[in-house]
Every structure is written in structure tokens, then in C-alpha cells.
């Protein structure tokens, strides 16, 4: 996403509390509750749009070959091994995904439907000659590396984040502000409507603002945010068009 402007959570809090008629936070919902709703809104949007891309460098687990995913990660995008200094890759190598690879208990021993060595299977041949393959698999929040990855000292994980760690307060990208406000507003008014049916008209307006009315002219703030995040930036699109035209990528 091409922006570097972030809105503090208090801005959203100020807008939402006014919109739902609770500026004094005296309707039984605490400030912490509001903050969690804002965090959840950012999380939902992050999972829907993959707007947050994060990079973490970690030391390679030489003995166990297994590494827990960073917190706040829900989707690994790229995985590299490198030597040198942590955070400064002198030489790097891409790690490939290997389906069914499993050394979840740690160590070089593993199971997989297709192994590099072992007894010959009548249906699945081994690929003993591919000794220089660098691969890994992810199960239950753990990255399981193949033993050949052991020749590198560090791992770089590029992944999609969910806004912020669960106990921390997220910063909100400026183009996503309205979607976050409308999402939180809809949720708070749902709570108020469960107490007082006269709030329903306000809730319906909030839902229209968030999800739109089905017409192209009013797609709703959530879809607008999704479109913004998924849309390619002008610079990237122009370059991509150039590559496509030349056909020599």
C-alpha cells in the first residue's frame, strides 16, 4: 500500500463516540472496549485486504530446524535464508514450500509424502538428486525447515500482519480511516440497539455507510477500502505495463 500516513487510535475513538452518542463514555462501554473494537476492525480489514506487510529477521534454528512464526502474522509471503549480519543479508536464498513436509518435533528427521531418500515407493519416486533444495512447511504457527537450510545463519520472513500485536494499539493507514470508523460504529450501535430498539434507524444508516446499498455509486466504505488496498499503484502499474509490452522479463 502506497502511503505512510497513520492515524492514532484516539482520532477514531473521538469520531466514533460522537457518532454513536456516547462522547462521555457513560453508556456502559469502557474506553478499553472501544479500543478493542477498533483493533478488531483493523484486524478484519488486514485479513480481508492483506494491507499490512511486515518483515522480521531471525536467527536460524540450527539444531531444531523449527521456528515459531512472529506474532501478528497470519500469512507468510516470502521466506529467505541468508548469511552475514542479522538484518543485513550478505547472500540470500529463497526458501521453497514443500507440501506435507513435517519435522514438527524438531531435528533433521521428518516425514513427507515424497522424500529425498528412503525406501523406493512404487507410486511416488524419491528425488535423491535434489540435495540442494531449500524448503520449509508451516503447520500450527511453526515453520519447519529442511535440513539443507542449516548452512545459513538467518531467516527473513516477509508476512502479512493483522494491524498490531493483540495487546497493542494499531495505527490506522489514513486511506482506511472511514472503513474503520464505520465498522466500529456499526458494532457499537448493534450493542445499543440490543438495549433500545429506537436505535435501529441509526444502525441501519451505519450499515448503509459501511456496506453500501448495492448500487455502484455507493459501494460502502469497507469495499472502498478493499478496492484501494488491492489496487496497484500507478508507478507499479506503469512499470508492469512496460514489462508486459516488451515481453522479455
Amino acid at each position: 500500500m502506497n502511503n505512510n500516513d497513520f492515524i492514532p487510535i484516539v482520532d477514531i475513538l473521538s469520531d466514533v463516540t460522537q457518532m454513536v452518542g456516547d462522547p462521555g463514555l457513560d453508556h456502559g462501554l469502557s474506553k478499553g472496549f472501544y479500543i478493542r473494537q477498533i483493533s478488531e476492525a483493523v484486524e478484519e480489514l488486514a485479513i480481508d485486504t492483506y494491507f499490512q506487510t511486515l518483515t522480521t529477521d531471525l536467527e536460524f534454528p540450527t539444531d531444531s530446524l523449527i521456528l515459531s512464526l512472529p506474532t501478528n502474522c497470519f500469512n507468510v509471503k516470502e521466506l529467505y535464508l541468508y548469511n552475514g549480519v542479522c538484518g543485513t543479508p550478505a547472500n540470500s536464498r529463497k526458501v521453497w514450500y514443500k507440501r506435507n513436509y513435517n519435522n514438527s518435533q524438531g531435528g533433521a528427521d521428518y516425514t513427507a509424502r515424497r522424500k529425498e531418500s528412503g525406501e523406493e515407493d512404487p507410486f511416488i519416486p524419491s528425488h535423491a538428486d535434489n540435495y540442494n533444495l531449500y524448503y520449509a512447511n508451516i503447520e500450527n504457527g511453526v515453520i519447519m525447515f529442511g535440513s539443507s537450510c542449516n548452512s545459513y545463519s538467518y531467516v527473513r520472513i516477509v508476512y502479512s500482519g493483522m494491524g498490531a500485536d493483540i495487546t497493542e494499539v494499531p495505527l490506522i493507514p489514513r486511506p482506511l480511516r472511514q472503513a474503520i470508523i464505520d465498522w466500529v460504529r456499526e458494532r457499537i450501535l448493534t450493542i445499543f440497539a440490543s438495549r433500545d430498539r429506537s436505535v435501529m434507524p441509526l444502525l441501519n444508516i451505519a450499515r448503509l455507510d459501511l456496506y453500501g446499498d448495492g448500487r455502484p455509486s455507493n459501494p460502502g466504505s469497507w469495499r472502498k477500502a478493499e478496492r484501494y488496498v488491492k489496487k496497484m499503484g500507478t508507478w507499479a502499474r506503469d512499470c508492469y505495463n512496460e514489462y508486459q509490452q516488451r515481453g522479455n522479463w
Binding site: D22, G24, D26, H27, S30, F33, T167
Partner: protein, 228 residues
């Protein structure tokens, strides 16, 4: 705002004019004033919040230095002794704010760490992220005339600042020249209600008063007829 003295003596004079031998005392009228004024004050605050979304600060009483006490029972919980009777409003809205100072003189004290009001039943659910009671996110719940706190167990907070909407307690009106916390436009309504109340009290029908007379009906004598 009108003073208690103005309201009470105005009413006393009016009631005495009609019932010159009545034995209405000043405290009776003051009690009626508090009764009616509390009703109107609550209605006024509710209406004001309904219209503007906020409670007016005009009737707020601020207690800048209220001691935070530690209970000798109830697991040594920290609590605040309420300095008066709260107006009974939903979600404890009669507690406008409770805050404490975190030693930063650049920030106004009452906008620093603010207590969130909850109920004792809700307190056990405060384990969700961002909702856990901490010194920077404290909670309070009202039990009778005390406010128990959550989140300050591990820190030393000697005193807090409170803004409360209090009901008028006639026993605590020591100064008759103090102002009655009621909007001016409701004073006439209050007078009307109190005069009605006084009239009703003084016009209790005489037959409902125990005058000591025996009212048991004597059975009528049997009528003698010639039907035998």
C-alpha cells in the same frame, strides 16, 4: 439559581396564608423542596443528555481531593467513600468522572487517568485485551455509598478527584443561603408541586383522623311485627 431560604420561606409564607394555624416547620418544607428538586434535577439532566449527548456541568459538584481508603474487610479492596447521595441514573452517569493525577503537571488532572464505571457482575469479565484493569485503565463500581476500585491494587494512589451529580440531602443543608441546584425555569414548577403537596397534607379529611370516638355501629333493635 434560587437560594434555599428564598424558596423555603416563600412556600412557608404561602402555606401559612392559607392555613394560618398549621404547624408546618421549616424542615418540612426543606424536605419537600429536596424531594421535588431531586426529581426535577434528574429529569432535567436526562433530558439534557438526550438532546445534547452530554450532561451539563452546571450542576456538577467537584471533589478535588478525596481520600482513597483501604477496606479492612472485602480482601482489602481500595474504595472511595461517597461524600453525598448520588442521583440514581443508569450506567452510573451521576458519576461524571473519577480521575487521579499521574504526576504530570502539564496535563490537567481531571483529564488524565479516568476510571470507567462498571457493575460488580461485569467486573469478572474484564480480562479481554485493552479492558484489563490496570493503574492506567482503572475501573470503579458502586456499592451503596462507596465506590470500590479495580486496577489500583499494586500502586499507591492517596487521593482522587471526583465530579458527581449529587441529590439534595436536606440533612446536609447547613446553610440556608446556599443555592438550590435546580434550573431557574423549574423553580416555579417546584413551587407548584410543593404547594400541592402541602395542600394535600393539610387537607387530610377529618374522618381519617383518629378523634377517639367509638364508631362501632350498634345493631338496630328487632322490629316487632304481627306476622305471628
Amino acid at each position: 439559581m434560587a437560594k434555599y431560604r428564598e424558596i423555603v420561606y416563600d412556600l412557608l409564607k404561602d402555606l401559612k396564608q392559607t392555613y394560618d394555624d398549621s404547624s408546618i416547620v421549616e424542615y418540612s418544607v426543606l424536605w419537600w423542596v429536596s424531594m421535588v428538586a431531586n426529581k426535577f434535577l434528574k429529569q432535567h439532566l436526562d433530558n439534557e443528555q438526550g438532546r445534547t449527548g452530554q450532561m451539563p456541568g452546571r450542576f456538577l459538584t467537584v471533589f478535588p481531593e478525596t481520600k482513597l481508603l483501604t477496606s479492612s474487610f472485602s480482601h482489602k479492596r481500595k474504595y472511595i467513600q461517597l461524600p453525598g447521595v448520588l442521583l440514581d441514573m443508569d450506567y452510573d452517569r451521576s458519576i461524571a468522572y473519577i480521575t487521579y493525577n499521574v504526576q504530570d503537571e502539564l496535563i490537567p488532572g481531571f483529564t488524565q487517568v479516568k476510571f470507567s464505571m462498571i457493575t460488580p457482575a461485569h467486573a469478572h469479565l474484564l480480562q479481554a485485551s485493552h479492558e484489563t484493569p490496570t493503574p492506567t485503565n482503572p475501573y470503579g463500581y458502586v456499592v451503596a455509598d462507596q465506590i470500590f476500585t479495580l486496577g489500583l491494587e499494586a500502586v499507591d494512589v492517596p487521593e482522587v478527584e471526583m465530579g458527581l451529580y449529587l441529590a439534595i440531602d436536606p440533612r446536609k443543608v447547613n446553610d440556608m443561603d446556599a443555592e438550590c441546584p435546580l434550573p431557574e425555569h423549574l423553580v416555579s414548577q417546584m413551587k407548584y408541586e410543593i404547594i400541592n403537596l402541602g395542600r394535600f397534607v393539610m387537607s387530610v379529611p377529618a374522618d381519617k383522623v383518629n378523634d377517639g370516638n367509638d364508631t362501632i355501629q350498634v345493631a338496630p333493635p328487632k322490629q316487632i311485627t304481627n306476622e305471628q
